[in-house]
Symmetry: C2
Subunit: 160 residues, 2 copies
DNA sequence: CGTATAGCGTTAGTCTCACTAACGCAATGG
DNA sequence: CCATTGCGTTAGTGAGACTAACGCTATACG
């Protein structure tokens, strides 16, 4: 009840987000993802990489050479966008693009030795960046978050 | 070891995402947010609303009439984009835009009775949509998710 | 066999978002 | 009184997800 004058002004210096908004999971997700994406993209940009590079390189290491369409399906990158991503990777000598002898419609994308080294580098960098992203959480909490998010994503991927 | 022929083909019919990718929190976040945003936006679009409408209406109900700049700060909507949002709300009679008598630079945005009803409607709709979004999670897990996300968002909002 | 269907890589273009720059104007503080 | 700051507004940028359509090739089917 004291300081009535100050109470007149809405607390605009610290413009609190309405509770309704703060609590909505969808908003938490999009706000946090905005910051997460920025963190990851900036970090990768500093070493002339993009997250799509990582996705493709990881996919190639784990499953071996593949067509652009298969990579597209595995990474979630759309087929039209994959063209540009592969171009960038080829330009950096991280990947080779050769016609598939067994199917002339396809290009076979192969991981180069340099690409393999690059992937290791990016993995280390991403570990650091995620440490920064998840800084406020204890290890067990990080696992829990991953588990919850995975369950949700799986659910909404099965039934689009 | 049986069915050696089938083993030759990479399992392309179910194009598994590489483990490295699946585990990365940043990827889980952006993939899930993509789906979450789609769910929410589509749901709101069906009643001719957008999530910014909700944010502004909620902010007005909770803190009373405010300038566009204040609303911008509270909701996270950028000032240039706020102009259009208010225009849409005015066009739908959910909000009134009047010059602030105390400060001629400002417009005072006021919630209309119709806007108040609209907010209740949107709140109910969002409850349903979030039920769909969080379907695979038990109530306690939903709370836990909200708690973890809030901690992360707070951390990355304090220190941009 | 031959023809329809489907998959491939690619080009082009759309739409939505978050964001920046800069303007004319009004208020405030040294 | 003038410099600075804040306001609403217009315009425009850049990235990301996505669609349409094309020419080509492989496969399935009648």
């Amino acid at each position: 009840m004291t300081r009535a004058e100050a109470a007149d002004l809405p607390d605009d210096s610290t413009p609190r987000t309405p509770e309704r908004l703060r609590r909505r999971t969808s908003r938490l997700l999009s706000q946090l993802t905005l910051r997460s994406d920025r963190l990851i993209n900036d970090g990768l940009a500093r070493v002339d990489a993009r997250k799509w590079h990582y996705a493709v390189l990881a996919s190639l290491l784990e499953y071996g050479p593949a067509s652009q369409a298969a990579l597209s399906r595995r990474t979630g990158i759309h087929r039209p966008d994959m063209v540009g991503v592969i171009n960038e990777l080829v330009a950096r000598d991280l990947v080779e693009r050769t016609p598939d002898p067994d199917d002339q419609r396809r290009n076979l994308i192969t991981l180069s030795p340099r690409g393999r080294r690059r992937l290791r580098r990016l993995d280390a960098l991403l570990d650091d960046l995620h440490d920064e992203l998840l800084a406020p959480l204890a290890p067990a909490e990080r696992d829990q978050l991953v588990e919850l998010l995975t369950r949700l994503l799986d659910h909404h991927s099965r039934t689009p």
